[in-house]
């Protein structure tokens, strides 16, 4: 009876994940979709606690203790984080899921070791039927896969978290590509051999665990620049697959359902992002992209840069017909989204048409800028995606680039030696004027020079994005 009720709960849970994800993909229903999925998760969790056959009531105190601790810490962290810190927060929570999957594998492995003589496969278990042995081999394989994927996801996410938080710097080892592929093969090889009973040393699983954690670190370590969103999305789908392994292990449909759903949706999202940056998924998997930028092969720039005063910039924009604002990570760091919206309103009051050009990887995550600008009440229809806004630059008088760099670097189009060559960019050089609002001449996240700054049509406006925009607004008002 209990089991049938639990099955029904799992069915409802699985459906709610599917419907929730579907609703999340439409702006009108997104928030409700999140709640629908959360509802499904809640009933699945409590259903398992009270109805799953084998849960000891004496362990309730531990379960609820852990649930309460996790809920308090999780809620505090999620509530406290600033909108600019969202990407690393997602990465952090993703890592927690990966670690959880890895621990499940460890415990199940030990449990198996206690109940069956799993380390003597090759000799067989005396009279044990072949089918049973095969079943055990498959189970071991699943345990290893869950462990490997979960640990890679955990270690990788923690590194990604540290990097986005600017606590960890990019590092590339010599022969990194070879080392990474070699390590992955070794990990999978040991896992496969151990699952088939060819390695009979019980502690081999800890070797696999250590190697997988190390691989996760090495995998993300050299990746820098605008590529981090792709990595987070990929690790996100990894954790999904690791959760699905748990689903196989316990023959648990809701785990399988949720895990695979996230695994496939996450992979698709990763591919979409790769396309936006003109990279192949294979490059991502080998862990060999973006890092080249840090080695600094980019040619040095010649020419002069021109500065503009705030008063001149204000006049220029006031007498324009159309102004396009290109937001980037600098806007997020300076928390300048509100004042940016105010600038937009002041200009609109003067009869200037204002639009925002959103590059798919502006900021640290796709959609990062949309979230920020939505926070400051910028209307949806003013946010234009790259393909929609690019033809409009020709008729634009002034492009105001706020804290963005790599996404407007023409080197992506005309310098094959550049590490970002081939990445689609915003064609801001088509506009009559560009004004770059930046703290200093320092290179962007990809670590390369931007020839746009030296263009005769461009002017620089140095300073903190928030302060500069505030000054621009007051200049505009006093004109």
């Amino acid at each position: 009876m209990n089991q049938s009720i639990l099955n029904l709960i799992y069915l409802v849970g699985s459906l709610s994940f599917m419907i929730g994800l579907k609703m999340l993909s439409k702006p009108e229903s997104a928030r409700k979709g999140n709640l629908v999925a959360a509802f499904g998760m809640t009933i699945a969790i409590f259903g398992t606690i009270f109805l799953y056959d084998g849960i000891k009531t004496s362990n309730y105190i531990w379960i609820f203790g852990a649930l309460i601790i996790g809920t308090i810490i999780g809620t505090l962290m999620a509530k406290k984080v600033k909108m600019t810190g969202m990407p690393q927060m997602v990465s952090f929570f993703n890592g927690m899921g990966g670690a959880c999957a890895a621990i499940i594998s460890l415990v199940e492995y030990n449990h198996m070791g206690e109940t069956t003589d799993i380390f003597n496969f090759s000799e067989g278990f005396g009279d044990t039927p072949v089918a049973v042995i095969n079943g055990l081999k498959v189970k071991l394989g699943i345990i290893y896969l869950g462990l490997i994927i979960g640990s890679i996801s955990f270690a990788g996410s923690m590194i990604a978290f540290g990097k986005l938080d600017e606590k960890i710097k990019d590092k590339t080892l010599p022969l990194q590509k070879v080392i990474n592929i070699g390590m992955l093969l070794v990990i999978l090889g040991i896992g496969a051999a151990a699952s088939l009973g060819n390695i009979q040393w019980p502690n081999i699983i800890y070797v696999v665990l250590t190697l997988s954690l190390l691989y996760g670190v090495l995998f993300v370590m050299p990746i820098g620049g605008a590529d981090m969103p792709v990595v987070i999305s990929l690790l996100n789908s990894f954790t999904g697959v690791a959760a699905a392994m748990g689903g196989f292990l316990y023959d648990n449909k809701v785990m399988l359902f949720g895990g695979i759903l996230v695994g496939s949706a996450g992979t698709l999202l990763t591919v979409v992002m790769c396309k936006a940056m003109n990279r192949s998924l294979l490059n991502v998997l080998i862990g060999n992209f973006g890092g080249g930028a840090a080695t600094g092969e980019a040619k040095s720039m010649t020419g002069t840069i021109k500065e503009i005063t705030k008063a001149d910039a204000a006049v220029l924009m006031k007498y324009s017909k159309k102004v396009v604002i290109v937001p980037g990570y600098g806007l997020a760091v300076a928390q300048a989204q509100h004042i940016c919206h105010e600038l937009e309103e002041v200009l609109e009051a003067e009869g200037v048409e204002v639009k925002y050009a959103i590059h798919p990887v502006a900021g640290r995550m796709p959609g990062h800028m949309n979230v920020l600008l939505a926070e400051s009440n910028v209307s949806y229809d003013k946010l234009l995606e790259m393909d929609d806004i690019n033809p409009e630059f020709k008729t634009t008088d002034v492009v105001l680039i706020v804290g963005a760099n790599d996404v407007v670097n023409p080197a992506a189009k005309n310098d094959p030696a550049s590490p970002i060559y081939g990445m689609p960019i915003l064609d801001v050089e088509d506009a009559a004027h560009t004004i770059v609002l930046k703290r200093s001449m320092k290179a962007g996240y990809a670590g390369i020079e931007n020839e746009l700054f030296y263009s005769p049509k461009n002017s620089m406006l140095f300073g903190d994005a928030k302060k500069t925009l505030t000054d621009l607004v007051s200049e505009l008002k006093s004109l």
Partner: protein, 101 residues
């Protein structure tokens, strides 16, 4: 080889389910506007927190100290994933909603 074949025939339904699920996952988010990429990734992140079910099972079945300690940690980590994931997603989407009014 033999074990793989017998696994496939023993778990046909499961495998069909996985394959269908992969397509459902792709289908569901294929036409997402890039506005929603970050919240969607975050929402998906919360959903894979379903791995917590496994953590609850090992915690609930735990007898040894090893399983108890690891199970306890696993449930905490899983809860962080689920609760943190959903709350962060809600915070992101809250902004979209406010805007509409």
């Amino acid at each position: 080889m033999e074990s793989i074949l017998s696994f496939i025939s023993d778990n046909q339904l499961m495998i069909y389910l996985v394959i269908l699920m992969i397509f459902v996952g792709i289908e569901l988010i294929e036409k997402v506007p890039s506005v929603l990429h970050t919240p969607l990734m975050s929402g998906a992140n919360a959903i894979h927190g379903v791995v917590i079910i496994g953590a609850i099972i090992i915690m609930g079945e735990a007898e040894s100290l090893y399983a108890t300690i690891l199970g306890f940690i696993a449930v905490i980590l899983g809860t962080l994933n689920v609760v943190g994931g959903f709350v962060v997603t809600d915070r992101m989407l809250e902004m979209f909603k406010k805007k509409k009014k």
